[in-house]
Symmetry: D2
Subunit: 287 residues, 4 copies
């Protein structure tokens, strides 16, 4: 099995390297070629255009930074669609909307290829450690064939149904996460105003039924006023907005998430959009 | 060191038994005497009135079911106040309001005794396993002296400051928990309506940064429509109400918690008050 | 018919004067006697204690500043209860809780007197102009007998049922008003940020189905940053809190009001409690 | 001055008729020609295509049912763009988004014509009575020239600035209206559960500072469970969604509106989308 990886950014590079380390043949491409040097030094073949990677490989992964980039890699001149055909498989592991997943799926299917969306849960560190989680929607046989590669790059992969399901799952998960962070911020703020020590609150939480890595890792930083970006606040706000629109589409009231979303909107308005999403705390404590 | 335990209910009984098992002398009391038989068979001495337990022991713990019972054990005829005096110590591990903790603290101090409020995080099983968490406020020297006993009955004890701090901490923790459960319910409901498998949602959550025991344990039961009571919904709603009043007192807006509280109010109105607090899901999914 | 009026404050004084102007005999009392001078100069008789007013009159009205004052006027030494008896009637037009209305009602009934709570809608100007609205709960026959006096002091009187109904109605009305003001503030803030002229928003609102005196009167002041107190923000916040507790008691979710309440809480925390309740705008615009 | 009116629906027909009644020359067009018969019988000239109306008239108004129809009237073959040119003016009084208003404005300007968006506040009855309110954005000189016609069809016209301002104003107004209706529904529901008479609540509201036509007209119908459509709930929900997205764009938190929006979403999910927006009451009372 020969793999392609499109996009040599913070996430795509370690993913390609992990595939290489396990002895796989890997072809890489990036919009700016210099980012391909490091994987090339580890044995990767470098291609000039996404369409070339598709031609060379059995299964090609894409990991780019936003939906527009996903769209371009697939639909632009020299893109995936130019060479995709029966026997070729394409997996987009970037974060895209359910609608775009369906649009790409349809275009690939029309040309006889197979498609899987597989947005990841996890960022830089899990990508390096091969600890990503893949949320897959699309062609089930491709999911099964790609599993060995997914298991090198990640710790767990879910097959969730048709194309779009991965994106939906990611929105649902991030909606819960965004509301939880707002709840955590409200609790820390209230505790602080009432005179409790925030470190105590974090430690008590760590002993109980709602103990979780996010509270343990972000809590002490938040109490310290440190909001170095892991997941940018503006991206969480965007996901909260998209989750609200999904809830609207399926006629499910989500008023707690709606209120949390407005905290993120407020935080964005105060200029914290490029900080970590935990900076919502600054909007809550000022509340 | 001789210990007293007032209240031989679901929680107080295993607490007394754990103290006995470790070789301590223990005096017990219960409003209805028959509940003292089991600890008596394990070596506990039985007293007729709370005041008698105080006289017999160095440190006396109370674990009763509600603030009114806490009040009565202390202030009624034959109660704690009758015999508390310099050299005697009293620790209420029941859940009471900050105001009542302060009221009891003042009454004990006036008679020269020492007082600690120490509400617990944890229910039946942790009580049996000695895995409770104690949230302590009041006399610091008493906290230190009582630590060996607290460490037998629990896995972790926090000294949080003056009397009332334990109760405040419990409200802050439960406010976060109650909002988190509402967020979880919104996510499960939305996922379900959008066509995602709820078991998948629970498993994806278990892989990520917000993985926590509450989601893992309650999630599958909620998806199954099972709401056997561990922590009754009406008690969670009461804590959400008290947390809102605390936020009001300290002028901290907590609008996500406020919306979550109104889900519990709605659930209570639909008759789910005596089910587990996760039954808020039924109010959300119908939303 | 001879009337008593207890409490010669901003509201009670013009109420007594309106009764005098229509040719009624009026006996007044105030905690500090000098405030009785003006009504005395208009022909009012001045009494030394509330109990004396009850003895002298058929129907006695109380208009004091807070529930504690209402309680004291009734239950203290020399208070209403000392002389109330069959044939005597007592009407409290202050704003008190449903519970206190019921408590006073029970105490009066025990002594054979009749009681009506009649909290008013309207402040200084309507009191002077005889344009108050009375929200009455309690003895129906007393309501009917008191109607001529109520019609002098007010423009409209409602009989709403047993004692406590008046207070409940006031909470429901103020809950709607408080949420409406928050909605108005959100609209003005959003319009302003989007680049609309706030004066335009106010004028467009005045042309449509939701045109109302509050928007027309407060809107231009809010746009100007003027928040001279008519109804203090801290009182609105208190009413929002009590309305939430009423909703809790009757298991009705009121999440829009809950979010509005948290805007008032935030505004109070920013130090606007003594300004007009429209100062909630400052908490919203900073949101 | 010769006027055109495109769209002979519930709104467009009386608008054209009012122009005719005042002695103006009017050219009409409708997608299905039979709807032009009535205005023709009153003296209107009938044209075959929108482009023909533009050619015949000085100022052409469009009143169609949705943004797609607005788009088609302008951009389709035989549409407005085909004949618009210097000296010709086009006014779209339908409800469109700020973005579409700007898109149409740009296309018209490119061809040398003048454009005004002028969405209306008011429905069938005000259209018949000439009591509409026009919220105008775009070319100021056109606004002034069109004023005589706008004053025939409406009672008040606002010039709000560039194209898009009219649509923004409409969203702000409807956001306030939608939240107010939710607040009213919460108050009616709570009052009902507490035992107050809903008719009493409505009458008390009518006496106070928040008295408004919407409460007076819709209240008694809501209490009666009657929700005959004037403004469909699904349209209000759409406007609440668009207002939330506007708030997102301008970074203004609107959490009360967000919670209200989720009531409308819930009501839509329960199947009330085609009833009047006051049917949100059914979602609130079940809350």
């Amino acid at each position: 099995m020969k793999y392609g990886v499109l996009g040599m950014g913070i996430m795509g590079t370690p993913m390609a390297e992990n595939l290489l380390k396990e002895g796989n043949e890997v072809v890489v491409w990036n919009r700016t070629r210099e980012k391909c040097e490091r994987p090339a030094s580890l044995g990767a073949q470098v291609a000039a255009r996404p369409a070339d990677v598709i031609r060379e490989c059995d299964i090609c992964f894409t990991m780019v930074s936003d939906p527009q980039a996903s769209h371009d890699v697939c639909f632009s001149e020299g893109g995936v669609l130019e060479s995709i055909c029966p026997g070729k498989s394409y997996i987009d592991v970037s974060t895209i909307t359910p609608e775009m997943a369906q649009q790409i799926a349809a275009a690939i299917a029309e040309r006889g290829g197979r498609f899987l969306e597989a947005p990841v849960s996890g960022s830089k560190k899990p990508a390096e450690d091969g600890n990503l989680v893949f949320l897959c929607g699309g062609d089930r046989s491709l999911f099964e064939e790609a599993l060995p590669a997914l298991e090198i790059m990640g710790k767990k992969s879910f097959y969730l149904g048709e194309a779009g399901r991965g994106a939906q799952m990611k929105l649902v998960i991030n909606m819960i996460m965004g509301t939880m962070m707002a709840a955590f911020a409200e609790g820390l703020s209230l505790g602080d105003k009432a005179g409790l020590d925030q470190q105590d609150i974090i430690e008590v939480l760590a002993q109980g039924a709602i103990a979780n890595p996010m509270f343990s890792l972000k809590g002490p930083l938040m109490a310290d006023g440190k909001f170095q970006v892991a997941f940018p606040l503006k991206h969480m706000q965007k996901d909260m907005r998209l989750a609200q629109l999904l809830a609207d589409e399926f006629a499910q009231g989500v008023s707690a998430a709606a209120v949390a979303n407005n905290y993120y909107i407020k935080a964005k308005g105060k200029g914290y959009g490029d900080e970590d999403f935990s900076a919502v705390y600054k909007a809550v404590i000022d509340d």
